[in-house]
Homo-oligomer: 199 residues x 2
């Protein structure tokens, strides 16, 4: 097995352990030493992969966004227009354990985004790619006559994006988070608005 | 001047300084020593007011929510129904410097809410009070025939609350945050949906 495969696997393992540490003990608990500890590696074994704590944290935040986007791409594959929007939006909801954990990791980085340009850029990039996909599927939906709303694409995209961000943030509150049933209903209502012709 | 007034003023000063520290240097930079430093007090002068860092942080988070709720109460005063909802929702938007700073302080505590039950309870309490007010004004609006949507009050409240949370979180991204004009448009669109009678 080539050496780079081992390296990639080790990196993934360290990033996954960092995500779990963030969930269990909070972002402040993450140190290279602590990540070595929970993965059973020797002290200093993390440095060849992530020379600094910031690099490890950035990789963890980036991976959460990349995973969400990869899941969206798979879910949407082969669909267009309204159905593609539905699949994208549902996929970004914190509906199950995997997606709730991902949402919690991402939410943990909101504060870092106010202090750290690199983290802010990761958020901005993710939101930009989400927006680009929404605009594309709205265009497809309008071309096929499925999307008939008088609202501008810009308003539709803003509403969907920031509602989804709010719902992902809601899971950080644990017990008080909005239920999966109500999350799905909100997405269906957003989609329904799109089909209403101008009065 | 009674001693308690001095004490209250000093507490407010320390909480305000903590908010500024969070904005300028991040939540992790807050220590009792650092807050004493930036307020020009002697080391140890903070302890009589806030014996622990957690108490100071909780007071800072609580104050941000209390201020937002007090502003909403003032803005809504004397109105009911749809107009009261409009004023509440606009007041919770991060439209100007004061409200953007408040939104950034609150956003900084999202990660803490995942780790600290007391912080989670502050968020849950704020959201519950926001919801209660929304339900009240929706009832008033339905009674007067202004609110005609077929959507349940629960769906309307979920959508508004989590969109507003998402918009407040968006300001943490700084330059990429949604503009005040677009924020206001989203609130107007939400209100417009409420006036649409069932098809």
């Amino acid at each position: 097995m080539p050496r780079t495969v081992d390296r990639d696997r080790r990196r993934d393992e360290l990033v996954a352990a960092t995500g779990r540490l963030i969930l269990d003990e909070g972002l402040a608990a993450v140190t290279l030493r602590r990540v070595a500890e929970v993965t059973g590696f020797a002290n200093g074994a993390v440095k060849p992969y992530f020379p600094t704590k910031d690099e490890l944290l950035h990789a963890t935040c980036r991976q959460a966004f990349e995973r969400a986007e990869a899941r969206v791409a798979t879910a949407v594959d082969g669909t267009t227009g309204l159905e593609a929007l539905r699949r994208q939006w549902v996929e970004l909801l914190p509906l199950d354990d995997e997606r709730r954990l991902e949402a919690r990791v991402v939410t943990a980085f909101w504060e870092a985004a106010t202090q750290d340009r690199a983290v802010a850029a990761l958020f901005a990039g993710h939101h930009e790619r989400c927006r680009t996909r929404m605009y594309q599927h709205l265009r497809e939906g309008r071309a096929r006559g499925e999307v008939r709303t008088a609202e501008s694409d810009e308003t539709v995209v803003d509403e969907a994006l920031w509602l989804l961000v709010g719902l992902r943030a809601s899971v950080a509150l644990g017990g008080d988070a909005i239920t999966p049933r109500r999350q799905r209903m909100l997405v269906e209502k957003l989609l329904e608005h799109l089909t209403v012709p101008p009065r």
